[in-house]
């Protein structure tokens, strides 16, 4: 940027004053109180405005200081500068409540919509602070060596905050931070936690399924149950057999009508005795006596009766004779007897013989009845048992064998029944066993099904864990990269700090040649250590800054400011104008000459030198060096 001219409408003591500048060196000469610093301040205010900025003098101070004495209504001015081949006119009004900034692009005949932005660009990003510390060079205010050194040091410190953007790692660090954030997005943060959880679950399930309750005993119980079942089936078959046999036996017995052996034996006996009695009776009935006796008795009875009758008759005399012939004996006898006695006896005998005869007849009848009865009973039994109703020895034999057989049947039956009972018991037990094995088997099946479910679940979890492994290793890889980025950021930030604190190293290079030039070779270069102690290099030794003369200190100061402003504007081609505000007041002639020539040589841009001496102009004239003089 080159300043073309200033027009002060109203600022401090100036009022409608215009000043023009050229390229190269411009000397603005005015004795003290001529307004050099006012002009300087005006220039600064035109470039940076008068708003309060943090750390600087309060606005009110500046405001009050430069408010025009005579006319408070006019407080502002214009500044024309050229930048990047265009000419701009800056117009400012500093009046409170009327502050304004306008910039017109005279080349393109446009007014800028964003004048602040243009100024920032044209000023190449040099802030007001930087401007005060570098481009605009005043005097070292203090005179004592130590104070000057201190001021130098604080100046150095203040440069830190301006710093060359190329030294400033802020942007690079935030670039890295962005990279880091983007990369962190690629992390899967829960992966490790999920993986650990999955592994834990896997262990739990594996522990669970290795419990003995899951052991596969299907075969064992199957076999047990099968053998139980086979046993049961065979016993069942046997039982069926027995039941059949028992049914048969029972039927036989039922048919026979006897319930048990006792009955059979009783029946047998009864039949035996029946038969015996039958035989006896038959025998009895067959006895001749049976027939003879009743006949006889009856005959006797009849005889008796007849006797009686005869007696009666005979006694009835007429008849007697007849009968006397017939029955001489009887008649004789009879005659001896008394008739009623004889009658009674004969009646008695008749009745007796009749009774006896009837009795025997009855007996015979009884016998016959007995025969009939026994025969009937026996026949009935026989008929029932052997189907034949002949009453005979053979039949009786047959009956006997039959009955014996029945007895056998009964024995069989009882045996079978006992066996059946035992079988039933065994069957009961076997059924229970089978049921127990069945339920165990079912339980086993359930466990196996449960197990399969768990195994499937386990497989799923293991799959998920496998899938996660790749994510985990990717995470590891990303973490490595993140660590590298962090290392870069740390290194850069550390470097930043250490560079700032050993600013000297870098300043050395820049300031070194300048110092040598400006002191005419008295000192080679300068060294500032970490604690900001400043040393000057001579070919022999390091001289602490406190030991050099104030003039030299001034020179050093100048060199530093030059170096700093150079560094600030390393990148740009259009340097800002360098402004010297009575900087050489304390210099002696030789030093002054050296310094001015040096500065002109080192600084390619416009130079504005405010001075209240004529020495500078005179020296330049003597050396035939071109410059532009402005008298205030």
């Amino acid at each position: 940027m080159k300043i073309l001219d200033l027009t002060i409408h109203g600022f401090g003591k100036f009022h409608d004053r215009k000043l023009s500048f050229t390229d190269g060196l411009n000397i603005i000469y005015g004795h003290n109180e001529a307004g050099k610093s006012t002009l300087h301040s005006f220039l600064r205010a035109m470039l940076y405005g008068m708003e309060k900025k943090p750390g600087l003098t309060k606005k009110s101070e500046l405001y009050e200081k430069y408010k025009p004495w005579d006319n408070a209504d006019v407080f502002g001015g214009e500044l024309r500068f050229s930048w990047q081949s265009k000419t701009y006119r800056v117009m400012r009004d500093f009046r409170k409540d009327h502050e304004s900034l306008r910039i017109i692009n005279e080349t393109d005949q446009t007014e800028l919509r964003e004048p602040e932005a243009l100024l920032t660009d044209a000023l190449d990003g040099v802030t007001e602070t930087a401007y005060n510390n570098t481009v605009s060079i005043g005097q070292l205010k203090c005179q004592t060596g130590r104070e000057m050194a201190r001021e130098l040091k604080s100046y150095i410190q203040s440069i830190h905050t301006t710093g060359d953007a190329n030294l400033n790692a802020e942007r690079a660090i935030s670039y890295l931070r962005n990279q880091k954030n983007t990369m962190e997005q690629r992390l899967v943060p829960d992966a490790a936690r999920t993986y650990t959880a999955l592994i834990g679950e896997i262990r739990n399930i594996e522990r669970d399924i290795s419990q003995p309750s899951y052991a596969n005993q299907l075969n064992k119980y199957n076999e047990l149950r099968n053998s139980a079942r086979t046993e049961r089936t065979s016993r069942q078959t046997r039982k069926e057999e027995l039941l059949q046999k028992i049914a048969q036996s029972e039927q036989v017995l039922q048919q026979s009508g006897y319930k048990n052996e006792a009955e059979i034996s009783a029946a047998q006996e009864k039949t035996g005795s029946l038969y015996k009695s039958f035989e006896e009776s038959v025998k009895e009935s067959k006895k001749a006596v049976r027939i003879i006796l009743p006949v006889m008795l009856l005959g006797l009875s009849a005889l008796s009766l007849m006797f009686g009758v005869a007696a009666v008759l005979l006694t009835g005399s007429s008849g007697m004779s007849g009968w006397q012939t017939l029955l001489p004996g009887v008649s004789a006898a009879l005659s001896h007897m008394r008739l009623p006695v004889v009658l009674a006896v004969s009646l008695l005998l008749c009745i007796l013989f009749l009774a006896a005869g009837i009795t025997t007849l009855r007996q015979n009848h009884m016998i016959r009845k007995r025969v009939e009865e026994t025969s009937a009973q026996a026949k009935e039994i026989l008929a029932r048992q052997i189907g034949c109703s002949d009453l005979s020895e053979d039949a009786m034999h047959a009956l006997h064998s039959h009955m014996e057989e029945l007895k056998n049947v009964y024995h069989q039956l009882t045996d079978n029944r006992t066996e059946l009972a035992a079988l039933d018991e065994e069957l009961g037990k076997l059924t229970e066993d089978e049921r127990a094995y069945d339920s165990k088997l079912q339980h086993q099946h359930e466990m196996q099904t449960e197990l399969e479910g768990k195994l499937e679940h386990l497989a799923n979890i293991k799959n998920r864990a496998e899938q996660l492994q790749r994510t985990l290793s990717e995470n590891d890889h990303i973490t490595e990269e993140l660590d590298a980025i962090s290392l870069a950021m740390e290194t850069m930030s550390d470097l930043s700090k250490s560079i700032h604190s050993s600013f000297g190293h870098y300043l050395n290079k820049e300031a070194g040649s300048l110092i040598s030039g400006i002191t005419g070779g008295a000192y080679d270069s300068m060294w500032i250590d970490n604690s900001l102690r400043v040393y000057l290099n001579t070919p022999d030794k390091l001289v602490p800054i406190e030991h050099v003369s104030s003039g030299t200190m001034d020179q050093i100061y100048l060199a530093l400011r030059l170096a700093a402003s150079q560094l600030l504007q390393t990148g740009s081609s259009e340097k800002l104008p360098l402004i010297f505000d009575d900087s050489f007041a304390m210099y002696d002639e030789d030093r002054l000459r050296t310094a001015i020539h040096f500065v002109m040589q080192e600084y390619p841009g416009q130079i504005l030198l405010f001075t209240c001496h004529t020495r500078e102009a005179r020296i330049l004239e003597e050396d035939h060096t071109a410059f532009h003089l402005i008298r205030l």
Binding site: A172, I209, Y214, N216, Q448, Q467, A484
Partner: protein, 361 residues
């Protein structure tokens, strides 16, 4: 006696399960095993040896049923199986109550037992894993008695935690053929005697090369292995590709090169890509298009940006760039660690991109 020998089938596994082709690979494993069964049928093999890790994990009943069905389709082949460390037999295993079809023999014991097949005069010894590891060798204690049989040993393992044995031990054992399992790459450990058939399908990206089965013939009289060959079964391979890039290599160029190589070798195969060399610092390789088109299981970009640090240092002696480079130059001349190198690249990149006059990130 003709046999087919396989192992480490890993039925039920999903390789590369987080990749889109994971399920296809799981199916490939099953298809390959079916192919093996078919092959046994074609060859009229007398035996099919499955030396462990038939399953990827403890099998469920339905897995056993599926396989049993397959085995039932080769009724005239004796299928002999042992369990390996991955599918070791637990107390709760469904194997204990599973009824295989007649031609299948599964060694359930953890102590060596044998089975004799009279029709082929062959005695086969084997045992199964009941736990994840077995630290004893075991196989050196087996004493087969009858030498008039063909004697086969099936064993799974070979490293320190899994029945340790080596080629020397195997060559001393009195068996006519030793059907091994556990190593997933096919290898004839003892010539014509002891073989790792490898898994029929490659199971992860390190398992490059051909995968298949071994088939062989043993002379019934001499008991010698007369014929032993490897037969590839798998149609898919893991193929590593390495590309060296230079400062001139551009992303498109790299993509084209890799696409060409992949198409040349088969687009169904699974690729593992490694980039080495030095690339232009402003070039960023983005191979995501490749991943969308083909099966790329891993892309390792080990290339580094080509910075001429000397030139940079000379250009920027007094600013942050110079200092930064200086900071990473070790005085002892040692190589930087990987992390330090990465930090250097990141830092320089950030500084170059954000310096005045450079591009803003």
């Amino acid at each position: 006696m003709r046999f087919v020998h396989t192992a480490d089938v890993s039925w039920g596994m999903t390789p590369d399960s987080d990749m889109p082709w994971g399920k296809d690979r799981a199916n490939d494993i099953k298809t390959s095993f079916t192919k093996i069964i078919d092959r046994a049928r074609e060859l009229s093999a007398d035996c099919l040896f499955i030396s462990g890790d038939l399953f990827h994990r403890q099998p469920l009943t339905r897995d056993l049923k599926d396989l049993n069905y397959l085995f039932s389709t080769i009724p005239s082949t004796h299928v002999v199986i042992i369990a390996g460390n991955r599918d070791h037999i637990e107390q709760n295993s469904a194997l204990y109550s599973f009824e295989w079809c007649k031609n299948v023999t599964y060694f359930l014991e953890d102590q060596p037992t044998s089975v004799y097949f009279d029709d082929i005069n062959t005695e086969i010894f084997g045992f199964s894993y009941h736990s994840k590891e077995i630290r004893d060798t075991i196989i050196d204690e087996i004493q087969p008695e009858v030498s008039s049989h063909i004697r086969i040993l099936m064993a799974h393992g070979g490293d320190a935690e899994h029945c340790p044995f080596d080629a020397e031990l195997l060559s001393r054992l009195p068996f006519d053929y030793i059907a091994l399992g556990h190593i997933h790459k096919p290898e004839e450990v003892v010539e014509r005697k002891a073989v790792y058939p490898g898994s029929p399908e490659p199971l992860d990206l390190t398992e490059t090369g051909a995968h298949g089965i071994y088939t062989g013939d043993i002379n019934p009289i001499t008991h010698r292995v007369q014929k032993l060959e490897f037969e590839p079964i798998s149609e898919i391979s893991y193929i590593p590709l390495q590309v060296n890039v230079t400062k001139q290599t551009e992303n498109e160029e790299l993509l084209k090169l890799l696409t060409g190589e992949i198409l040349k070798r088969g687009s169904r195969n699974i690729y593992r890509i490694r980039i080495t060399g030095k690339h232009d610092p402003d070039t960023c390789f983005d191979l995501s298009r490749l991943s969308q088109q083909f099966r790329i299981v891993e892309i390792a970009d080990e290339s580094e940006p080509e910075y001429d640090f000397n030139a940079l240092y000379r250009e920027h002696p007094t600013d942050m760039i110079g200092f930064y480079i200086r900071k990473f130059t070790r005085e002892d001349g040692q190589e930087l660690s990987h992390a330090e190198r990465q930090a250097l690249y990141y830092g320089i990149n950030a500084l170059l991109k954000t310096q005045k006059g450079g591009e803003e990130a």
